[in-house]
Symmetry: C2
Subunit: 473 residues, 2 copies
């Protein structure tokens, strides 16, 4: 055995641990299998032990023990990541933060919660004050805030607020370092970007402070277009309506809505491309005027639905973001996906260009967002998977056509392409994790001192140096 | 006498009226005198009678009476307009709506209030529910909501929400027509744009429904730069920070802050160009990181001020928008101003170009806003006034350099340049005001059937036809 597990267990007396193999297998996995490549590569990944601390003090004890024994630690929130972020490549200890789930403080415009708190639970706690989180992944009901910050990027609400990359969407973090005597650091302002989307490779998030927005009983709408370009142009223009407050603007090409959105099937005519919208209810009249002018067909309105018709419908955001992929996968297991960005200038021309090249092999799925002060879209296009070589060719074609791809078929930070590692990021890891025991194998630059930082890629989360000139997009 | 005032008074028995000449003179004026041109042209304007209804029923009686007698009616909110909007060019009745001042309903995301309600009073009523109006003019404490909609355009909050031109910033309006038997119409969705910025020429607003946003104890900041272009670039970039919630981003060139912002004088070093910011308090750490990266000097922070230092300071928004002009005027009565827009592409290049041409004659003042989904700026540049001919030449130079001017030295809709009159607008006035008695003289197209609509100008409030392709900016 490569790690001294009996010694570790001895040091962890009184802390809840698990070593049942079936449970360990389950708690060593996330939703990596959405990628055939990662499925192949990570199927055998399993931790040696799981610890589920009930307090910060227990977290520190665990980190100290693993540090002393040289045992890797891979933090885990709810395990809903898509790229194996929470999977322990080198085995060792899976650090389950789900029991640190309290909402600690709520104030005007801000909430403080422990890392394991689920996003929906945070909002439930904030609801009495008429507030909610600005943004959340479509895994709202199952994901943790710590996992979102360390492993996610954006989602529902990004149409108004941008993503986790944007300064101000994470207010502060308290993290524990992995040193002989673990330290608790508080990071705020731009410092939080060290931790954002870093897969827990540079600290264990204990609690977080997030900004809040006004909570509304969001109206859900689905608008149909027979022409995809019209649907995309409508969505872009709707995104640019500064006075119609929105939480979601997604566009999914036929036939995906018709084949995958089973519970909404009756609202979706054959052949129609569908725009999903969540809007604040006071904006309905403006939204109706806007939609009518642009020739969209109002297929569905949650606020106009009879109570009986509401029954059994999932919330609209569970048809969007990576839930679109989930629903498509359920119907056709040979589906996978990509993550793309359509930057200015002419984002929709880029969308048109790639999809006219790829046709039915790559059904279009756009998520409109605020990005560096403008409205544009990310893509989560589906792919009818045939081979890894073909997948790589499709990615290369995107890049050739000026469409950055954030590769969801890679488990390292650098190859995933969202998070830039640079000397400053590396220096911080050296401080926070001097033995490199946190989530090893996820940061190429750590393992490989020859790694070339200067790739000229587009990163969502730029390196910590030279941040003035807006590195990404 | 041109109007049968005794007959009118007989019909208005029981309604509060005024005919005292000094009071009539005062209530026939707004802040037109900010313009030397309008001062010259409108100094003699005076109504013949003022009526101040206490109820909708009284409004309808007044309109019916004036219709029957052919007497013009000019509605008045608080009379803080800058272009003589509320001044009765043809005399007649001044209809003072200030007693219709109730806040009628508050709900999540929306408020309904009578037209005469003051903006600050509406917010005070909404405060217990943690809400406030999205945007307001800098005359927050003195202006009415009806006057803002009929005569204003945007202001504090436009950096997040755009302006009154944006679909969704006015939810609905109840208006009274001026017919033999005045009708009450309810307009919602895009229909409200008939009334917006129409100077009351097509209906008397009785009450309005406006969207609300989350209310915060906004932090005020002033940031100094020695270089104006840096100040402007900082402001543009701050505007583009989608996750730092703001209510104001203004840039005023030295020496105006130093000479005009008397109560803030001690915070403003000689020669510094000043950026005024209102931000939601949870964004402070992000804002500090951002500002430090860009080399701005934090001159003032309301949240870090000792209680004693707070004494006597006006709210920061009373240094911005047209309050900048007010304060400059108080120090130098030979100051006037313009209203400009710096559209994409390259708005700041346009700013640089015009100000390098005009130098000290035209001190720069920029107000950053969301405009058609992007961040750009309006200008309220000051002008050291010499003559009307020179003022016109300065305007012409702006237009030549691709900077639309919304001329504040004109009292008609068309020459003011913000509101486009077109056949649809004219048709609506024919329905709502068949005798043309509402605020006559303010709509050239009404008086002059030969008027050419197709000017190719930039309008903030486009005509009612062809609204799909975004007419303005
Ligand atoms: C159907 C589906 C839809 C999705 N939609 C979205 C979406 O819209 N937007 C989006 O961004 N993501 C999305 N995801 C991915 C994922 O659900 C989210 O990113 C989610 O927020 C992750 O939270 P988690 O608690 O499950 O994290 P986990 O998977 O447990 O962990 C994610 C990463 O964070 C690290 N980590 C977890 N907790 C801590 C901690 N306390 N300290 C330090 N590191 C920690 C882990 O090591 C791992 O690297 C989706 C996934 C699926 C399957
Ligand atoms: C120092 C200063 C700063 C300013 N800053 C701003 C600013 O930031 N943004 C901005 O947009 N404006 C600004 N203004 C202009 C003005 O204060 C605002 O537009 C304000 O909202 C007007 O409201 P009011 O009640 O004073 O309107 P009034 O001046 O009384 O009326 C304005 C117009 O509306 C019409 N009207 C009024 N009530 C009704 C009604 N019930 N039905 C139909 N028509 C009606 C009048 O006939 C007139 O045409 C500023 C003015 C000054 C002097």
């Amino acid at each position: 055995m490569r790690y001294d597990l009996p010694a570790l267990k001895a040091r962890l007396k009184g802390i809840h641990i698990e070593d049942n193999p079936a449970l360990l297998r389950q708690k060593s996995r996330d939703f990596y299998w959405y990628s055939p490549t990662l499925k192949r590569q990570l199927d055998g990944v399993i931790g040696d032990l799981l610890a589920a601390p009930a307090s910060e003090e227990e977290v520190l004890r665990i980190l100290a023990a693993c540090f002393a024994l040289g045992i890797p630690v891979t933090p885990r929130g709810a395990g809903t990541g898509n790229y194996g972020q929470a999977m322990p490549l080198a085995g060792g200890l899976v650090l389950d933060l789900s029991r640190l789930d309290k909402v600690l403080e709520i104030a005007p415009g801000r909430v403080r919660a422990q890392a394991g708190a689920l996003l929906a639970d945070i909002d439930a706690a904030c609801a009495p004050s008429g507030q909610e989180l600005r943004l959340h992944p479509s895994t709202y009901r199952t994901a943790s805030i710590g996992g979102f910050i360390a492993g996610g990027s954006g989602g529902v609400g990004s149409i108004s607020w941008g993503g986790l990359r944007d300064l101000g969407n994470i207010l502060s973090l308290r993290i524990a370092t992995m040193e002989a005597s673990p330290q608790i650091l508080t990071l705020s302002g731009e410092e939080v970007q060290k931790i954002a989307h870093a897969y827990g490779t540079n600290g264990i998030i204990l609690d977080v402070e997030m900004p809040l927005a006004a909570a509304y009983d969001w109206t859900e709408a689905m608008i149909g277009f027979t022409d995809f370009a019209e649907a995309a142009a409508y969505a872009q223009a709707l995104g640019e309506q500064d006075a119609i407050l929105k939480k979601l603007v997604s566009v999914i090409a036929a036939p995906i809505p018709q084949t995958a959105f089973l519970r909404h099937r009756r609202f979706l005519p054959e052949g129609m491309h569908v725009v999903l919208v969540m809007l604040a209810p006071m904006g309905s009249a403006a939204f109706e005027s806007f939609t009518a002018r642009r020739g969209g067909t109002m297929l569905f309105r949650s606020d106009l639905l009879a109570e009986a018709d509401r029954h059994g419908l999932p919330p609209l955001y569970e048809l969007a973001w990576n839930h679109t992929t989930l629903r498509a996968l359920r119907v056709d297991p040979a589906i996978t996906y990509l993550q793309t960005l359509y930057p200015h200038p002419d984002p929709l021309a880029r969308v048109a260009r790639i999809h006219s090249r790829l046709g039915d092999e790559v059904p279009a799925h756009l998520e409109f967002v605020r990005f560096d002060g403008r409205i544009t879209c990310f893509g989560l296009p589906l792919v009818h998977y045939t081979s890894e070589a073909r997948l790589d060719a499709i990615i290369a074609l995107h890049e050739e056509l000026g469409i950055p791809v954030f590769n969801p078929h890679r488990y390292t930070l650098e190859e995933g392409g969202m998070k830039q590692t640079d000397p400053a990021q590396l220096a911080f890891k050296r401080e926070a994790d001097p033995k490199g025991l946190l989530n090893p194998g996820k940061m190429i630059a750590w393992e490989n001192p020859e790694f070339d930082f200067a790739t000229g890629r587009t990163y969502l989360f730029p390196g910590l140096e030279g941040r003035d000139a807006g590195e990404a997009g």
